[in-house]
Symmetry: D3
Subunit: 238 residues, 6 copies
């Protein structure tokens, strides 16, 4: 059963960093879900604050939610928002329990989220920590227990803005050539400056170049890069 859960600190992260693999998974018949821990209303909504510095935070949230939902539609995925705030995002035992419940209900086979380290963002590592803890609490110890537990999902970090400084070392490149137009459409929903769309289009193309160089697979035009957090279990070396 293919079920992909993407946990995004702010309401735009999933589009830039995992939009391709979301659309690709939908294309191959998987069930997907995006969970945005926050709207990124305070720190990640540059264009909206530039337009009107006096805007209320609530109004920014509404706009960000609408943009993210539209982007999710283009990618073909359901989306949920937890409204945990940003700059600062605060994590509590109750919020971890909330995430445990979502994971337990969805029973993902794969989870994607941020990197453990990000010296450019205070919220991304918190999203990582919340995911790490909630995933473990959902799975239990692999034995019968006092609570429902699910099969341990595979778990990857998606690509941060400055990969080397975040100690991101990609070990998995997904060919997203066939869905890259959808990713572009989704990115264009985000109300960000055009340069960001260019930036991530170019990143997709560069990761495609890397994937071709690594493997000789000439058909890869666009790729997204991921780093696995747990080993892969498979029945073939190929």
């Amino acid at each position: 059963m293919k079920k992909l859960l993407v946990i995004s600190a702010h309401s735009a992260d999933f589009v830039w960093r995992a939009g391709g693999v979301l659309a690709k998974s939908v294309e191959e018949g998987a069930e997907t879900l995006v969970v945005c821990l926050s709207y990124g209303e305070r720190g990640e909504s540059g264009e909206l604050w530039k337009e009107d510095p006096n805007r209320s935070e609530e109004s920014v949230k509404i706009i960000r939610k609408a943009q993210a939902e539209k982007a999710a539609d283009f990618l073909g995925t359901p989306i949920e928002f937890l409204d945990w705030g940003d700059y600062p995002m605060l994590i509590s035992d109750e919020r971890i329990a909330q995430l445990v419940k979502i994971i337990g209900n969805f029973e993902p086979s794969v989870i994607l989220t941020h990197t453990a380290k990000d010296p450019f963002n205070p919220d991304h590592p918190l999203a990582f920590q919340a995911t790490e803890r909630a995933r473990l609490l959902s799975c239990g110890a692999g034995v019968a227990s006092a609570f429902k537990n699910i099969n341990p999902p595979a778990w990857y970090s998606f690509e941060p803005h400055q990969p080397e400084i975040c100690e991101f070392k990609p070990d998995t490149f997904i060919d997203v050539s066939s869905v890259f137009e959808k990713k572009k459409e989704a990115m264009n929903c985000m109300g960000a400056q055009k340069y960001l769309v260019d930036y991530y289009t170019e990143l997709g193309s560069r990761r495609g170049n890397h994937a071709r160089r690594i493997s000789g697979q000439k058909q890869v035009q666009y790729a997204e890069a991921f780093q696995s957090m747990v080993p892969r279990i498979t029945d073939s070396i190929f």
Copy 2:
């Protein structure tokens, strides 16, 4: 095209460390090849030297070759021997060129060999270095060149005797349950003390336990563990 090349420092390493994945690959229709850089005649033939300390090195080679060929037969794989010597194994530019030629001719899609580091064995890291260099010289820079070049094969280290001390961190577990009896038969060809067969049977079982715990895939009884040296290029996150 599935083509698996296993590069083994001594004539027994491929059996203990990759016998399962060799048999599994044969089972799924892949073409396989084992290359033994040496017979391990001086340092790795304990039982033979114990039986008769006055035996000649040549006679040890002959016995080791026969054992390895018999094991390869049980696994269903062709095998070649380069006779580079052991304790010490010596690497030269000519020997690298010899290995380049073998890789160029076989055009593997996957290569398995030792770890880069092994504080218990002087030859294993040399096998790693020779493989690393020969693989790169076979592939070229991904552009047209003065010599034939092949698609870059995937490349993994197989499990060393003391994994943590060798800085082996497995990221890929292959379910070899369906072929483990074949691996046992192959191990029994090696003329080693019974405890070594028990040791690696138990290792397979333990890695199976780990694989189940990591993934919840309850069908895995025996597994072999590998560490990838280059990223994986694929078109699905599942």
Copy 3:
């Protein structure tokens, strides 16, 4: 003065991971103490929940406590339980203070606990963090202070279930051959499936094999592996 403190996240961990060194230390006249932060009642009591999924958590705690006490008896060590809960274990300033008090009273010369990282268990790294912090608060800065402070104990991690994935790199192997029968008896108290006793018996035997290979000390039949967290101070290189 030889005083060994073992801090165990759940009530069974100390048996599997440090039972040998506990019995060995008792044998050499050391004072020992085991502190279980939780009974592991919710997530680590597979057999009990399998027998009766409707059992109360309190009844599980009572059984787990009795099993652990019996195992501690076989090993010859006192044991205490803090009942901090599991899945999730929650740490607070008060709980740290409780642990500081225990360490300050016992004045251990060696502390053993879990690894800093464990991608398979949410409570083990918490036990590590609590131990790290409580140990430092007990010792102070090596100068006179507003509170009683003790000599800094040596400090080791014991072996986790999947050592490489937990970044466990053993640097100290203790020969526990002379007490391994006691460890087996202790393990047999835990009410777990037989395969776990087999698993850890085999681990002891494998670590014994590793210890022999590392040192040539042929008398080591069973060993336990540890990783030191602080340097060792000694007056001989031998």
Copy 4:
């Protein structure tokens, strides 16, 4: 605009670990500020507790404050005290907000603080974490936002007591020869045993030796060592 902020866990750390670079920065016309998160009254005031174990913590704070202010005067820098306590220092969301405000008001171009890891001190890593988080919350994401944000300051760790064990790897040596006498005067204010002044004088001399050996710059007599936490942006390779 040259503005240096030094965040010190206890009221003496800034003198031993960054006294030279503070004086040097003042000498080159920079604006500087020292923030002491605590007085180190409980755990870091050895001489005062030795003199009189019955002294009150409040009286220790008063003495420590006076000593630190006198040292700061010698170095030529303003100083502030947050009184967060020590052994244990406790961090809260409010305290982080307090630090964010200080950073936002001062707008440093460089921040110095402790290392991320210190197996000899429970408060130093907390100072690191508080600084890391407050710095990020002050800077925002580099776009317009709901709050004032400042340019991201450069950020370094200063040298801990046992550098290798704290995983401190210096990448920047500052020549403080011209101000080392001032650092000595500042150190002599701290009321510590004479050996500590000797220790840090010798450390300055040793780091000067290292700096000369690294670069051939023979004029360096005394240096302080730092490790950068973010890359350096410059317009010359020299």
Copy 5:
């Protein structure tokens, strides 16, 4: 005295990876020198072999030399070629001695070369090793010796094609905005496919984006990234 030495495995590497900093250094009055260990005639001359697979290696060398000299002219730097061959490049004691002599004569204050690790290229790590050894043999131990020795130059790795996989972690970004047009002209000399010029133009722009995000220095349009191999000695923290 500003003197920059760039050691390039093949005759094009210096253009893609350090063209900006070369032109920038010339602009600020530094003396520069490029040393190409090989022409990259066999493995790195894709377009030439594509045009005519029957071309001689000698003719490829002549064309590559002319292209590199023209690019060096645009950047304003002298260039030398050692003709050590590629695929495979072979290093010998004599070749090290040749490089020692070049370094001793030029007396660089900064050396740039490849990374220590490159799983995509067999020659780049050799260039690193040769540079590492020749640099140390040129500098001696910082004391009087049997041979002329020079001040130890600063030493950086420039950016490889797949930075994360090569374990490249940039710690120094040089703003090359003012000379980027010159770099483009130099890149256009290399006879490579247009996409490579686009690739490295985009890389310069992306590294400029990173530099702005790290520092808030909005004027940086294009940057090149480097990783220092030895600490920096300076007399100011700013």
Copy 6:
């Protein structure tokens, strides 16, 4: 059987870096041997070349040999010289075989040598590599073999000049207080500038301070620091 072998790249290294532990081992009745791979005649004999730049290399060797023998006498240890040259030291298969023979004859229980990495010295890492390889070739694979093999000795790196930059992380501190006067006498034989004796005396004192802080063992006045390369096998955790 306590047998200590110290492998020193140049004829002075063993005094500065392991003089204390040599004298301490002699004091506890161990058999010791120092092997100097080179006299350090070209690059490490600063004072001699300063006195007379026209001196012959042979005359420098003679003086260096006499100094080292005198120092060894003070420490109470035999010493041998292999005369492999320095700046550059060159390693060959024959030289490795020479070292294998020495190790095989002496049958050390502990080997001390340089660190694997030293960005300030071209010969130290070669000494490490030669030792690593020769030690493994001496020990074999722990089974009967075509050659005599010895029990694997414990193996440590001693402290380099700039420990952090050489990635030296000490895990073992030896209390050498009782023999430090002998080490001083030995250091005074080396004909080096007085500051070097001061430097290493101070290092001994500083490492003593560290050892006291780590363990609370107040009697340690002077210590030497080492990093173990293989795990320690013991029968007690204390």
